[in-house]
Each structure stands twice: as structure tokens, then as C-alpha cells.
Amino acid sequence: MSDLNKSTLLEIINLIKLKKISSLEITNHFIKNIEKSKNLNCFITTCFEKTIKSAKDFDAKKDFSGLLSGVPLAVKDLFCTKNTKTTAGSKILSNFIPTYESTVTDNLWSEGAILLGKLNCDEFAMGSSNETSFFGNTINPVGKNLVPGGSSGGSASALAANLTPATIGTDTGGSIRQPASFTGTVGLKPTYGLCSRWGIVAFASSLDQAGPMTKNVEDCALLLEAMSGYDEKDSTSINKKKENYSKNLNPKINGLKIGIPKEYRVENMPKEIDGLWKKGIDILKNSGAKIIDISLPHTKYALPTYYIVAPAEASSNLARYDGIKFGYRSIKGKNLIEMYENTRGEGFGDEVKRRVLIGTYVLSSGYYDAYYLKAQKVRRLIKNDFDKCFKGVDAILTPSTPSSAFKIGEKSNDPISMYLNDIFTVPVNLAGIPAISIPAGHDSKGYPLGLQLISKALDEQKILNLAFAMEKSIDFKQSFNRWWE
């Protein structure tokens, strides 16, 4: 069975379809891996009894019509799962058992997948290292004291450590792509509106998007196909025909024009990342793509814009945690207002409090125009930069992150240095366009690094094709001696 640890999602699906392995056998394989890997702290909740029952049901019915027939999948604990605890990494939701299922996870189960468990994440997806989770740090299998990135850090670690054959995360400012880069895996943030936000614990509603995290590009195309689609329950869902990303995957990228934005050459960027970027450019050139220098002049304003828009939306979204209808309630307080204050004071962690306070401040009377309105205007300038560039290029190539995985505790005392981690990923969320991060190599310490491909809205097929072509040339290899077991 040891080969199963090298198997991709697609290979596992084929093994099940060819009846070389049953859903129960593959499920037991992953359960065994999970039980041996508690040191990584990837999971907040497991529901093995339910998982095994679903696998047995699948094996009895033998319905292979779904895209993900019989495959167990763990998901970020930001997706509401009916009758299975959903915490968003927060104390305030530590006892919350949804009575409904998120649309995206429902899509996975409709395609035959089985819930394996709920994965650790930064509290309310606010963080870039998984250190803000109420349920403790997740460890990156790449190194004992390394963060997996965030906020989908549990998802990235579980995938890299083979505790799930693929997974899904959410990306508000880089929360899929940055952890994918830190763990040597593939992560895609779709166009805003491609995947339904219904039933996902909300952070910043104009930026949040769910997306696939996988071992390779083929798996990524397949999982995106399974999870995406119009949903009338999400008013910002895009109503269009479903795409066959996996069937249309094509590494022929001859003649495509790739933009290289000069503004992403930031100060103090490690030489290795610059080197990897050049390697990526060469690979694309050799595959027949045309490289074009471009400018996205407002890039440096993306992070400050994000740190107004996202906290503002978060402060509104998180107003619902009042200790009355669901979630944690403080027993302290003489009256209703004190109960609210104590519930939220005890229930939220430090980073969430910082962001709710910043959000409340920038929205408060007298400051709204100076901060929030200003940020919305700069957001338009950032989107205009991309719109203009995509008149001349098919896609944009950049590094995914300005560094490789850092040590636990290294940045947790300085919010700004933590925020700077998302410098290459945030602009894409502000513009609502898709981007994929693929593993591209290692730095001198042996830690993985990623490259990012960006396209205009709804051009996921193009960046998947480009990533597919690059993946073949890069031939990234990663294996662990499973030191954590």
C-alpha cells in the first residue's frame, strides 16, 4: 500500500473506478496516515465513523458516475458541513454544528467524494502562518519548526503529508496560494464568483473565494471542475455553463503572450526567488510563449488597500457572533451589552480583534471617506492596471511569495511583517481575477518555492494549461521520510 502515498487524486479515482481498490480500503489508508500524523496538528475535527460508513455505502452502491467517485477528502474548517462541527479555527465557533452544508462541499459529495475531516486554519482565515488558530499551530511537513503558511495551512500540510489526496481552501488575500507555495503543492484561487460562497464562514465577502489545493495541475483542474458552478443562493455567483477544465487541459502554449510585471521585483527579495522566476520565464519561452515586459504601477498600494477593505468587511461580517443564536457565550456580564462584549472579548483571538477594531475604525463616522472610500478608489486603480495589461497579454507570471516558509514565532509579534507575506497574492483578490501557484523549485535550505500565473476573469483554463506545461518542464520532486510519525 506504500505506493498510495505517491498517488495523485486522479490515480486514486482510476484505481477505484477500475475496482483495483475499494473506497473503504483507500479511506482506511488515509485514516491510518492521519492517526500517525497527529504531531502536525492538521485536523481540528475528524469523523472517521461517518467517513467509514460513507465509504462502505459507496462500495455497496458502486455508482462510479461522479468525478470524485469514492474518494475521501478533508476540507478546510471554514466550510460548513452538516452535522459535523465547523469552527473556522475560532473559540467562538468551537461548539458550532451546522444544520446545513456549504454549496462547494455539497458539490464535492454530489460528485461521489466522502468527508474525511476538517482541517486547521488561521482563525476566521485571518493569518498567513496558521498561528492564529485557536486550535494551535499546524506544522509544515517540510520542517519541524516551520509554518505551513496560511490561512489554509492545515489544508496545505495535510495534502503535502498525504493525509488527504486533495483538499479545498479559501483565498481572501493569498490563503490558498501562499500555503501551497510553502508546502510544494498546487493551489488555485478562482475568479470571484466561480465557486459559491454560500455556507463558507465569511471573512471579507468581496474578496473570499474557495479553490482547489492538489498535488499536481491535472488534479487541480479536476477538483475545480467538481467544486465550481452557479448557485442561486450566492448573489455574486456567476451564471455560466460549467467548464470541463480537466478534459480541456492542454500543455500546448505556443504563441501565448506572458507578461512579466516589473513592480513584482521587490527590494530584499531573495536571489533564489528571482532566479526561479527567470527559470520560469525561460521554460515558457522554450515552450513557444512570448515574453512581454509589463507594468502594474499600483502594485505597491495593493496591501494597504487590502488592509482597509478586508478588515472593514470582516468587522461587519463578524458582528453576527453575539453569543445568542449560535457559538460560544460568556457567562460573565450583568446585562446584554456586557454579555456581547465578554463573549466577543473571550471568543476572538488577538489577530481577529485587531482586524475587527481596524475595520470598525476605518468605517466609523469621520474616517469613512479618508480610509474606506479611499481604499475602494485605489482598488479600482489596481483593477484597471490588470484590465489594461490583459489587452496585451494572455497571462502574467510572478513569484507566489517573497520568501519560503518561515519559522513558527518568527513573524507573529509584528503584524506588518506578517502582512507583507501576501504582497504578490493580494492584488489578484482585489481585482477578482484567477491565479494559480505551482511548485517551481527549492531554496538553499531545501524549502519549496512557488510561481504564480494570473489571468483575466474566467480564464482559468489558460492558466491551468500554462501551469500544466510548466509543471512538465520543472519536474518538481518532493518526498518526506515522514519524520513526524
Binding site: N95, I97, T99, Y192, G193, S206, E232, T236, I238, Y301, L303, P304, T305, Y307, I308, A319, D322, G323, I324, K325, F326, G327, Y328, R329, G333, K334, N335, L336, I337, E338, M339, E341, N342, R344, G345, F348, K353, R354, V356, L357, I358, T360, Y361, S364, Y371, K374, A375, Q376, K377, V378, R379, R380, L381, K383, D414, P415, I416, A431, G432, A457
Partner: protein, 95 residues
């Protein structure tokens, strides 16, 4: 611009978040560094720029006004920390 400690307390009050007195100092330091960071935006001239509140380029369509669920009282009450038959229980509001 800088946020004074009493302003931090005011914003916390607006946000309905109780703060430990001994954390106000470090929190106001953090908030100030974030506010200083985002104030870079003032370098940009945005006089003629329209604010962007959504990247979805359409007006939201009204949906048909029809009942699509209901009779889920028990489900709604299920996760409440304190309830009594058909009601959420809250601390006394009216003296």
C-alpha cells in the same frame, strides 16, 4: 494620524469587544502601525476615480419572492447557547 488609547477603547466599545486593560497599550501600538501602513494611500490622487465596491459587473437581480424552506425552528434553535422552547434566552434587556 495616530490612535490614542482612549480611542482604542472607544472603537472596542463600538465593536462590542471587551479588552483587558493591560492589553490596550500593545493593541494601540499594533493599530497605529497598521494605520500608518495604510496611510501610504494618501500619496495617490484619486479625485476622479470612482470607488470599486464589487468586481462583479452587474446589478444584483431580485429573486422571486417565494418560500423555499420553513418549519426549521428546531434547526435554528439547535446551536443556541441558551434557549427555552421557541425562544432564544438573553440577559434581561428592560429594567
Amino acid at each position: 494620524m495616530s490612535i490614542e488609547k482612549n480611542q482604542v477603547k472607544k472603537v472596542a466599545k463600538l465593536s462590542r469587544i471587551s479588552l483587558d486593560e493591560n492589553k490596550v497599550e500593545s493593541l494601540s501600538k499594533d493599530l497605529n502601525s497598521i494605520i500608518n501602513f495604510v496611510e501610504q494611500l494618501n500619496k495617490l490622487d484619486t479625485k476622479d476615480t470612482k470607488p470599486l465596491s464589487s468586481v462583479i459587473d452587474k446589478t444584483l437581480e431580485p429573486r422571486n419572492d417565494k418560500v423555499n424552506d420553513g418549519k426549521i425552528k428546531d434547526e435554528i434553535l439547535k446551536n443556541s447557547p441558551d434557549k427555552n422552547e421557541d425562544f432564544f434566552i438573553v440577559p434581561k434587556v428592560i429594567e
